[in-house]
């Protein structure tokens, strides 16, 4: 099982400029999480702080009982072996060809023989679709290939935690879809904890178990995907729909006058930039048939159901609707509005702001919840879960 990452009150500033403050969240073991946020909100800085490349001003980041922020350098190197990190442009070693790049962690950290290394490297290269490019230098290949090679290198040590910094930037939609599938398949195979930082709405809606969003120097929300996907929070809503209308402006924040002017333009019929209303819970990406079931999904279901009553009504509705009838019976809940919908039918992505908690039936506090090791995270000012 992947390692759990507990981040508490993390604050980072460069000089007098605060990047974000008091970020508190927990990446549950073996689950896939996505961190969203407009450009320049410090998502990459957050990733780098989590692996100890940048030193946060305050706070803790605990992995397997080791606090990355305050531990000794020797311990830090040990903990980092648990990580596989995909950097924005792959960060391959320019002086080595792709084969040596991917083999590098194996040669540094293991005593495997060259034949064994070759087998592992070729397997990972095939996984990311780079068979035949082993002898190429990073300078000779396209950005997308570099990115995939970077992923292969991040995977060779079978990490417990995988961090991806914008895996989709510079990739075409088809390759992004393949990459999303690859990450989900990986999670099913090695049960690693995965954190993806991205702008890609499609990826954010279909891939993760948990979603978070950074904006205005803090964590706006972090929680089960249903919470953000059904959220009425203006920032989250605007971002997920890719509209100009809302609090996010071209330069991070917008003032009231600009907002009013845009509202007036929109009222007059000017297009606001979004194509459709994409709120609502959509089906999650599943592992390729034939692969084992994702253990994280099961653990997450138990965890989410145990905190269900703390979630907003719209999210509750979305979660309950996504359960199969047997599961609904198991947890002792049933959807009110869609009780007659046959199993497998998913809710349409329509606005559901008019829902309220009375529509959820069943006594949620005494639901038949299987025992779980999971502890609810502490509520930070920005945390949604």
């Amino acid at each position: 099982m992947g390692a759990e990452v507990v981040v508490e009150g993390l604050t980072k500033s460069f000089g007098r400029q605060t990047i974000w403050r008091d970020v508190t969240l927990t990446l549950p073991p073996g689950e896939v999480s996505v961190m969203l946020g407009p450009s320049g909100t410090g998502k990459s800085v957050f990733l780098k702080s989590m692996i100890g490349l940048l030193k946060p001003d305050r706070g803790k980041c605990v992995i397997n009982g080791v606090d990355i922020v305050s531990c000794s350098e020797h311990k830090l190197y040990e903990v980092r072996k648990l990580f596989g990190v995909l950097f924005q442009d792959g960060a391959l070693f320019g002086s080595m060809n792709l084969y040596d790049n991917v083999a590098f962690p194996l040669r540094e950290h293991t005593k495997k023989s060259e034949t064994e290394i070759k087998r592992i490297v070729l397997e990972k290269m095939e996984m990311v679709g780079l068979t035949g490019a082993e002898k190429k230098l990073p300078g000779e290949i396209s950005g997308g290939m570099r990115k995939r090679a970077g992923l292969a290198r991040a995977l060779v040590l079978d990490p417990e935690i995988i961090l991806c910094d914008e895996p989709d930037s510079g990739l075409d939609p088809v390759r992004t879809a393949y990459l999303s599938q690859l990450l989900i398949d990986l999670n099913a195979q090695i049960d690693a904890t995965i954190l993806i930082v991205t702008h890609n709405i499609n990826l954010a809606r279909t891939v993760p178990d948990n979603l978070g969003m950074l904006f205005r120097r803090e964590l706006v929300m972090f929680g089960p995907r249903e919470v953000l996907l059904t959220s009425d929070e203006p920032v989250v809503e605007q971002f997920l729909n890719g509209r100009r209308m809302g609090p996010i402006g071209m330069s991070e924040e917008k003032d009231v006058a600009t907002m009013a002017a845009e509202q007036a333009m929109a009222d007059a019929g000017h297009h606001d930039g979004s194509t459709e209303d994409v709120r609502g819970v959509v089906p999650q990406l599943q592992p390729t048939p034939g692969l084992p079931e994702r253990m994280g999904v099961r653990r997450r279901k138990d965890r989410v159901m145990s905190i269900l009553h703390t979630l907003p009504p719209a999210a509750q509705e979305g979660i309950i609707e996504s359960l199969t009838p047997e599961e609904q019976r198991r947890y002792g809940v049933r959807p009110h509005t869609m009780a007659t919908v046959p199993a497998g039918r998913r809710p349409s992505p329509a606005p559901r702001g008019n829902l309220n908690s009375e529509r959820i039936q069943g006594d949620l506090n005494v639901a038949d919840i299987p025992p779980t090791q999971w502890q609810p995270p502490q509520h930070g000012p920005g945390g949604g879960a």
């Binding site: 780098k48 950097f87 442009d89 960060a91 391959l92 540094e108 950290h109």
Partner: protein
Amino acid sequence: MFALGLDVVRGFFQRPFQFREFIQQSWFIASVSILPTALVAIPFGAVIALQLGSLVTQLGAQSFMGAASVLAIIQQAAPLVTALLVAGAGGSAMCADIGARTIREEIDAMEVLGVSAVQRLVVPRVLASMLVAVLLNGLVSVVGVLGGYFFNVVLQGGTPGAYLAGFSALAQLPDLWISEIKALIFGFIAGVVACYRGLHPAPGPKGVGDAVNQSVVITFLLLFFVNFVLTTVYLTVVPAKGS
């Protein structure tokens, strides 16, 4: 920078040692600096011979010509010339290499893979520059003395026998030692400064260019200062011959 220096010294004794990288870097630094060093060393010996030559002839001390030029070359000129070229040719290339890796996040990637960049990249480079400095120092001494000999004997009409006999008049074995120790320390400084500036460039390609520039300038300044200190200490500790 001093912290990096300490880390590097600690890294000398830590395993695993990157032997391959060390050999590659040594070869690289040697290959870029041997020819310029030799070319600089010949005129250096010649200049000393020329300047001293006219002076000692007026004093009537031609027989000390060899002694003086050997002392000057071995004690001062050789380590400095070596270090300047190791820093200027090898160090700048090293700094640019590491700087480019830093801004392309390769160093970050390496750290994240659990490999210490100091251990993996910096230690072999610093050791290589130390080794090359010591070896080149020997070369510069020989070439410099030969250059001096050539100018003195062939162009200034000095006597070969007197020049050679003068070698041991003032120079002594500790002079050779201090020369090599200086070269060793200068090589260390050149390597550490180059790597430090390479690991901490200002962002962007221009930052790397500036870092290379600064690394060379800082190394030169440090070299002359350390040379002054070392020479003072040496002259106090080891009495000059004949006194």
